[in-house]
């Protein structure tokens, strides 16, 4: 049971890092970004390739930087010009970008799955009571906690964080206080996609890399964002924890219906509390 709970935390950590990027982008741009799964997947492949030259950690840094730049470009050439367009147009464009990413990755790296080894010194196991548990999985949990803490401190105590929280709720009023919300969005979208890239790289020693890996995590990330409460960072954290456990325990104990459980959880939460776990923008 302990192993299942820890594995649930590992998946929750990955989900959280992807989802919080979605929350950031939704808050600033009001965009339901289907391309986000693509960023996660491209991050994993970029990290895989860069790791051949710079090692795993160097690859991680390169992938995060590259994905951050791609996010800035996306904001500049897609989100900004489409900010006054119908939401459905933006949704379709981001979905198209996801499909393009999948095809491009398939062209470059092929359709076969690729694997990445856990980096030294996190490639061993650790004794937890009666069981042996991979150290790398504990590292993934630690990275997710670090991201959550870092984001919380940044949002709560920095001037930029205050601007992000304010702009997520009322961009015009925030702009009227002298904040260039366009520049702010540019950097926040970059941060959101960089987080997706980070999640892709740290997931790569746990999962097989494939062009469809982005689509798989995207659905559950949306479930996290909606269940947590659109735009809520704290809600995304709680929802990721819960859905990570539901996903993992479901696979072990009720494999036939495991894929439905996160969706069922979302439906139940939304019926009981239509705004999700947390109030918006907390």
């Amino acid at each position: 049971m302990l192993i299942q709970i820890l594995n649930g935390l590992v998946y929750a950590g990955l989900l959280y890092i992807v989802s919080v990027g979605l929350v950031l982008i939704f808050g600033l741009r009001r965009v339901v970004n289907f391309a986000h799964g693509g960023f996660y997947m491209v991050g994993a492949y970029a990290g895989y390739t860069a790791a051949m030259v710079f090692g795993f950690w160097g690859g991680l840094i390169v992938a995060v930087l590259v994905l951050g730049l791609i996010g800035i470009l996306l904001d500049y050439v897609v989100f900004r010009p489409l900010q006054n367009a119908d939401h459905m147009v933006t949704v379709l464009v981001t979905f198209g970008i996801l499909l393009v990413f999948e095809d491009v990755v398939q062209m470059i790296w092929g359709a076969d799955t690729l694997s990445v080894l856990a980096p030294y010194p996190f490639d061993g196991t650790v004794q937890l009571g009666d069981i042996l548990f991979p150290v790398y999985r504990l590292l993934v949990i630690a990275v997710a906690i670090a991201v959550a803490l870092g984001l919380t401190l940044w949002l709560r105590f920095s001037r930029a964080g205050l601007y992000v929280r304010a702009s997520s709720v009322d961009a015009l009023t925030t702009g009227m206080q002298g904040v260039d919300t366009e520049k702010l969005s540019l950097s926040v979208v970059g941060l959101g996609t960089a987080l997706a890239g980070l999640s892709g790289v740290i997931a790569s020693p746990l999962l097989a890399l494939s062009p469809s890996m982005g689509s798989s995590i995207l659905i559950e990330s949306f479930i996290v964002v909606v269940t947590g409460g659109l735009g809520s960072f704290a809600g995304a954290f709680i929802a990721a924890l819960l859905i990570g456990q539901v996903h993992n325990l479901g696979i072990v104990y009720v494999p036939n219906v495991a894929s439905m459980l996160p969706l069922l959880l979302m439906v139940v939460v939304l019926i009981l509390k239509p705004t999700g776990f947390a109030r918006s923008y907390s």
Binding site: R165, A166, T173, G178, S280
Partner: protein, 231 residues
Amino acid sequence: MSLLELQNVHAAYGSARVLHGVSLKVEKGERVALIGRNGVGKTTVVNTCIGAARLTSGKVSFMTRVQKPIRAFRAARSGISIVPQGRRIVPGLTVRENLLLGSAPDRKGPWNLEAVFAMYPILRERADGLGTAMSGGQQQMLAIGRALMANPDLLILDEPSEGLAPVVVDELGASLVRLAEQGTAILLIEQNFGLIRSVGDRYYVMAKGSVVEDGRLSALTAEELKRHVSV
């Protein structure tokens, strides 16, 4: 020097044209009232200055610098702070955070958190509570305090008396007069007869999206002023 100048401004929301050649200016230290009945385009003048209404022709200048394109943040950075209609207190932020949102790090002056708390002590008492949880009058103080945090040369207030009790409006008027005496120029968009009289010095009257009259408030009789602002 003109802090704000609109020259023959035409503006629209989508395809709905609202302003038809508005020209007005506010000089340093002036107290100007922009008056007119409901729906004549007074708020659209403010919205045009922050890009919320689309400028179709004409010029908007902050500190004599023509704004093109017009962006919401440029007014504040040019020393023009706005207290918008409906106050627009940011939900989810505390009173302190709403005030800090208004502070412009690169603009120096007498206004900071302590100075605003000294002017409106209730904001100090409620500093860690949500801004949106306060009463209408307190939210108006917060909106004015937030605007002052940028140490503006010009404060634009759009219907600040809306929804306030008469005694609160009197207090508001007194605080605006104090601000004006300290050298902050004021553009007051208002329909409250008493507030216009107590704060304003010069006036513009708008009708059907245009400025139709301007002059000194002291030259207007009470009856004339009432006629201009009655709904």
